[in-house]
């Protein structure tokens, strides 16, 4: 919903920025993290309504972030949408099993992504 805060965990600055423009255009609030270590502390601090998570992160993979987040009470129920350059055939199932709402391969189709975000926030 409009006004919801979305944490963008993405090491690529350009993509971070693009997603920021896209989300803000839809009137979401945004927060950023660029590596796995930062991701958890910022997530805890910002308490986002939804997280967009890249898998190929420096300082540990996105999966470790996902798993550790599930062990943090305040973040255990936060919906996570994985946006990754990796092959969905190898990672989609794993991501969903680890608790992600959806898996998108880069480059993402914006319409689909926005619909998925809306859906996740509604639940």
């Amino acid at each position: 919903m409009k006004g919801n805060k979305i944490l963008i965990i993405e090491d690529d600055a350009d993509l971070r920025r693009a997603l920021n423009v896209r989300l803000r255009a839809s009137e979401y609030e945004t927060a950023f993290a660029s590596d796995a270590v930062m991701a958890l502390s910022i997530a805890k601090k910002e308490a986002p309504d939804l997280i967009l998570l890249d898998l190929g992160l420096p300082g540990g993979g996105g999966f470790s972030v996902l798993e550790r987040m599930r062990n943090i009470a305040s973040l255990a129920c936060t919906p996570v949408i994985v946006v990754s350059a990796s092959d969905p055939k190898t990672n989609e199932k794993r991501a969903l099993a680890a608790g992600a709402e959806a898996f998108f391969q880069k480059p993402v189709d914006n319409d689909q992504l926005m619909r998925a975000i809306q859906r996740a926030l509604l639940n």
């Binding site: 690529d12 350009d14 993509l15 997603l19 423009v21 896209r22 190929g56 391969q105 480059p107 914006n110």
Partner: protein, 711 residues
């Protein structure tokens, strides 16, 4: 007395002839008489009829008694011939008698006529009988001779004293003497053993016969022939002993054959004796031999070197009959042991050795000199001290090198011949044979292992390389996606007006950027896909799928795109298409790829999609037809090849990587379906693919829909 008398008168005077006839009639003869005057008539008379007596006038005007006698002689007629004359002196009578007349009578004194005729008739009868007997005898003699001569055996007759009386030609040949030379000589003098020949004759005389009496004839030239005699005595008609008849047959050939046979028998006997003697040895070694053969086969088929060595070590011990066996295999430089095995220790628990418990000098002899070491009576040989691997005493040792084609692989040492016996030369030979076999087998096993290692290494390297390639491609595609993603994002941001209003020209250009970025995205996807397909990693997860439901949303997108290009889009889909067994993502991927191609190659006309059950009811067949440029006959067989790129790509669109249809084919075939294309250049193309109908229809999915998506 026969009173009939046939008389031939040789007489010129009929009166005289009648006188004689009268006289004879009076004497009581019944006469049949004829009178002739000349030689021709006489001959004719004699030839035409038989007569008993000729009464001939001594002197006739044209004939006379002497001429008549000559004619008789000429005609070989033997008849009583009595001359009847009127005036004859003593001298004439004597001459006539010499010439063959039987009697001489005076015409005026015929008193003696009848007695003379009677006498002469009797004489002639006797002469005839004698002649006949003589002829018979001559005939039988000839017969005998012919018999003798026609016999292939050498025949001989002797008198009772052993003097040769007759021989045949084979005997002449055999003896080298002519018949004339032989007759009259002593039988025995023609044989190498005269006494034995004489004994033979005595036997015949005593027994009446001998059979198979062997003698050796010595010929004139000194040739010796072994003959076998069958001999009998023979008697004259009265049963008086005449001599001995012997038939000799040349048995030289037979003798030689017999001798050979005998020699062979002798050899056979000897062989048998030797055979019997060997039999035991064979029986003793029989087991060894069969074990040897068995070992050979086992070793030949054993490809695991260690297994092989272990088997060899124990089999060698068993075959040769040693209590323990040790086997050492040297490392390649020969300095140390690669394998060391002991077999036959009573103690089951393994003993660890720093070095083989064999005296160094023994091993040196085997390894360095490549020689066999055979030691019995250890007490006399200090080299055997402290040699037993389990500290038991050793009395004998047999050690051989394992050599194959001059390559030394190690050694085999057998300890303690069973039953405290000695290692024999045969054991030594056996050990050498076994070691050679084992060496070859070991060599093979090592080579085979090496080959296998190499092959495995190659395989590993290859799969590592493949893995690296996959990783590389995966990495590259991953890395390409991030910048592409940024391009895509900012392009869409601009196009969506999130960064302010765009002029129509700006928008147009940005849409080109977007289209290209999407194409790039697809290419990267294909690249990854085809790599996975090649590595066999492409998998599908089939599930009951409704193709109508699957294709419906996709069709909507393509309808829009077709409309943008001004191309009609037609769907023909029967209401009751069965569920198929398909991975929805994958079949969706195939479908969109085909629609992409159709759009790409079609500038005007229509794209038609149809679905129907295949004839055999086992597949659903989907067809995507376009009215594009079509595919040339040359290209048709190639379009599913990897990296195939159509030469007809429209200028406005870019060639792809040439992977799309290749991946489609792969995916359809993974489903068990088929994909093919029908096309004529310039007349569009239709691509068909089949997806198997789900075999077990679980429940019923109502997807009855009447759709006509034509717009």
């Amino acid at each position: 007395m026969n009173r009939t008398l046939r008389v031939l008168h040789v007489e010129d005077s009929e009166r005289d002839a009648a006188l004689l006839t009268r006289h004879l009639s009076r004497a009581g003869y019944e006469l049949i008489s004829e009178r002739v005057e000349g030689p021709e008539a006489m001959r004719a008379a004699l030839e035409s009829q038989e007569c008993d007596v000729i009464l001939c006038d001594y002197s006739m005007p044209h004939f006379n008694a002497l001429s008549a006698l000559a004619l008789l002689k000429e005609m070989e007629v033997d008849l009583p011939f009595i001359i009847i004359s009127g005036t004859v002196g003593e001298a004439v009578a004597v001459e006539a008698m010499r010439s063959g007349a039987h009697d001489y009578l005076m015409k005026d004194n015929l008193v003696r006529l009848a007695p003379a005729i009677e006498r002469e008739r009797h004489e002639a009868e006797n002469r005839r009988a004698r002649r006949h007997a003589e002829e018979q005898l001559r005939g039988s003699q000839l017969y005998t001779r012919l018999l003798m001569e026609s016999n292939i055996d050498a025949l001989m007759t002797t008198d009772p004293l052993g003097i040769i009386t007759d021989v045949n030609q084979p005997m002449e040949i055999l003896s080298g003497h002519s018949r004339e030379e032989l007759i009259g000589t002593l039988f025995k003098q023609h044989f190498t053993q005269p006494e034995r020949a004489e004994d033979g004759i005595r036997s015949v005389l005593r027994e009446g016969r001998v059979t198979n009496y062997e003698l050796t004839v010595r010929s004139k030239d000194g040739d010796e022939t072994v003959v076998s005699y069958n001999a009998t005595t023979f008697n004259d008609q009265s049963g008086n002993l005449q001599g001995v008849f012997g038939a000799a047959r040349d048995v030289t050939e037979r003798k030689r054959f017999e001798q050979e046979l005998q020699e062979k028998n002798l050899q056979l006997e000897k062989a048998n004796e030797a055979g019997e003697a060997r039999e035991e040895a064979l029986q003793a070694t029989g087991l060894k031999l069969s074990a040897l053969v068995e070992l050979g086969m086992q070793l030949g088929s054993e490809r695991d070197a260690k297994q092989l060595l272990s088997r060899f070590c124990s089999t060698a011990r068993r075959i040769i009959g040693a209590r323990k066996s040790m086997l050492g295999i040297l490392s390649e430089n020969g300095d140390e042991l690669r394998h060391f095995l002991i077999n036959g220790l009573k103690d089951a628990k393994p003993i660890v050795y720093d070095r083989p418990p064999v005296h160094q000098s023994v091993l040196e002899t085997i390894i360095n000199d490549r020689k066999v070491v055979r030691i019995n009576h250890a007490e006399a040989n200090p080299r055997l001290e402290q040699l037993s691997p389990d500290n038991s005493l050793i009395n004998s040792l047999l050690g051989v090198p394992l050599i194959s084609a001059n390559e030394l692989y190690g050694w085999l040492v057998l300890l303690e011949k069973q039953d405290d016996g000695e290692f024999s030369e045969e054991d030594e030979r056996m050990a050498i044979t076994l070691a050679a076999q084992a060496a070859i087998a070991y060599e093979n096993a090592v080579l085979s292992e090496r080959l296998q290692r190499n092959a495995e290494e190659l395989d590993r390297t290859r799969s590592e390389q493949l893995e690296m390639k996959d990783q590389f491609i995966s990495h590259v595609s991953h890395e390409l996606r991030s910048p592409l993603s940024a391009i895509h994002q900012f392009t869409t941001i601009l196009l969506d007006g999130l960064a302010g209003e765009l002029s129509s020209e700006q928008r147009e250009y940005l849409e080109i950027v977007l289209r290209n970025s999407l194409q790039l995205r697809d290419m990267i996807g294909d690249l990854l896909e085809v790599t996975g397909a090649q590595a066999g990693k492409l998998t599908i997860e089939p599930q009951p799928t409704s193709l109508c439901d699957l294709f419906d949303p996709m069709i909507k997108t393509y309808e829009r795109r077709a409309a943008e290009k001004g191309i009609a889009f037609r769907i023909t889909c029967p209401s009751e298409l069965p569920l198929v067994s398909a991975d929805p993502n994958r079949i969706g991927q195939v479908f969109s790829n085909l629609l992409d191609n159709a759009l790409k190659f079609t500038t005007h006309g229509a794209i038609s999609v149809s679905g129907r059950r295949d004839e055999d009811d086992e597949f659903v067949r989907i067809a995507v037809a376009d009215t594009g440029c079509g595919i040339s006959a040359d290209s048709l067989p190639k379009i599913f090849d990897r990296l195939y790129q159509s030469p007809n790509t429209l200028e406005s669109s870019r060639k792809g990587l040439g992977l799309g249809l290749h991946i489609c084919q792969h995916l359809v075939e993974l489903h068990g379906g088929r994909i093919w294309v029908e096309s004529k250049e310039g007349e569009g193309a239709t691509v068909f693919f089949t997806v198997p109908v789900r075999t077990i229809q679980k429940g019923t999915t109502n997807f009855e829909r009447e759709q006509n998506l034509n717009h």
